[in-house]
Amino acid sequence: MKTANAMVLAKRCLAALGVAAALVTAQAQAKEWKTVRIGMDATYPPFESVNAKGEIVGWEVDYATELCKRMKVTCTFQNQDWDGIIPSLVANKFDVIMSSMNITDKRKALVNFSQVYFSTPPVFVGAAGVKSTDVSPEALKGKTIGTQSSTTFANYLEAMYKGSEIKLYPGGDEPQNDLKAGRLDYTLTDLIVGTNFVEKVGAGCCKVVTEIKRVPEFFGPGVGAAFRKEDADLTAMFNKAIDEVDADGTYKKIADGYFKINIRGK
């Protein structure tokens, strides 16, 4: 039922983009891939963020670069607001989304996904003074919880935490800023992102309160790269490259440069 609804949405999404976009994508389908444009919302360190020089950097950039090397294509990276990232992919502004996007049924109705390339649990980050690790909806009743909009986190909070005030932000870093500023009691984010944030601002500000389970119905199996429906060839190329990078230990090498824990999720 959910998927059927989403299919209607997918159609309408395409329709709204008009004939022009359809023509362009038809061309893209026919071509051989020499360059691949990768779109990401660079507000999500250490996976992707913009450094002082204005370049997009992070683990996902390094990982994508490795995949591109295997596929013998030139990759470029584009920064894109999260809210519009799927419509932009469909409108051919870039060819792939690699932006810590969890694979969900609703998104699958609009785009194709590669296999999972990492999977980490969500965490609640709270103010330093938070004592209890109880983050059940009852315990957080009346509290203000922030997260990025149109994410699995947002969907989860809206469905489960009806008694709390939910604040949604366009970027992934903005809820963390507001937690630091004291406008939020908690944020819901990814384990790595939350830990990275707490390490950067210091324990005087905030702490990772607790991990929560990846409820499959909300969070899906893990993070994958997203492609336009018609680019099945590109999806296959990525899937193969992901296997290769796994097999020869390069994945572990890149990940170890960034993370203390295993994020592969398999």
Binding site: L9, R12, C13, A15, A16, G18, V19, D83, I86, P87, L110, G146, S149, S150, A154, K167, L168, Y169, P170, N177, D178, K180, A181, G182, R183
Partner: protein, 262 residues
């Protein structure tokens, strides 16, 4: 009928989307109306002292008011909003100390504050222009009659100045309505915020069309109401002067309003 025309039709008339999310747009409209109404009125109140200070003969006072106006008219409103919202967050210990953190903690108050400060600068310049459009000779004549400053303002300057000010104030109100969409960026669920929310859920562009139509209706309504008010208040000017006292302003107004209508 070609296939694409059906797609266009479905884009424009999307009853399914409206049925499911229409109420969100309405609650958003309510929030927009509250933010705009409150900040425009507060801005109007604040604009008076600023305009009077701007016209003050004391150099320091007039410079201070001029700087205020220059800063708020010369920088983007988004930048001002960020300074107050995220900048305010940086000074939390200080604000907590002086007991105003509850104010800066809330996105709603931050929006009201930054919109008020911004529109006050614009409105102050409108008021100053309107007051200065009243011929000096009238003030001098009134003073010669022995009227107090307050009486001169109330009976001679203001009735004429406000008439000149109405239309630009209406334009400023329309600007504030449109600028209020920025509130969505700091998590406020105004009309724009709700639209973004619905888009994030549905990826359906139709919602932006409906959002735009509501904003258009809002600004168009404002324009018409302001025009009606101005028409009513300027009856005596348009009808021709019944007495000598109105003759001089009549010619001025024609010039002033003609300028606006161009």
């Amino acid at each position: 009928m070609p296939a694409w025309s059906q797609d266009v039709l479905r884009f424009v008339i999307n009853t399914e989307l409206l049925a499911q999310y229409g109420w969100r747009l309405l609650t958003g409209l309510q929030m927009t109306a509250a933010v705009v109404g409150l900040s425009f009125c507060l801005g109007f109140v604040l604009a008076w002292p600023v305009a009077l200070a701007r016209m003050s003969r004391r150099f320091a006072v007039s410079r201070l008011a001029a700087s205020y106006i220059a800063v708020f008219r010369g920088t983007p409103l988004l930048c001002q909003l960020y300074l107050i919202y995220y900048g305010g967050g940086e000074f939390r210990p200080f604000f907590t100390e002086v007991g105003v953190w509850w104010f800066f903690r809330d996105a709603y108050y931050c929006c009201i504050l930054s919109f008020t400060l911004n529109t006050a600068a614009y409105q102050a310049e409108i008021l100053r222009g309107a007051i200065q459009s009243v011929p000096k000779g009238q003030v001098e004549a009134a003073r010669a009659l022995g009227l107090s400053w307050l009486a001169i303002m109330r009976h001679v300057v203001m009735p004429q100045a406000l008439l000149v000010a109405i239309r630009p104030l209406g334009n400023e109100l329309i600007s504030v309505i449109k600028a209020s969409a920025l509130a969505a960026i700091v998590t406020l669920l105004d009309l724009m915020g709700q639209t973004r929310f619905v888009f994030a859920r549905t990826f359906d562009f139709s919602i932006y069309l409906y959002c735009a139509l509501i904003y258009l209706a809002l600004t168009e309504m404002t324009r018409r109401v302001v025009e009606a008010i101005e028409m009513r208040l300027s009856r005596h000017v348009r009808a021709g002067a019944p007495s000598i006292t109105v003759v001089a302003p009549k010619r001025r107004y024609r010039v002033g309003l003609g300028g606006v209508r161009l």
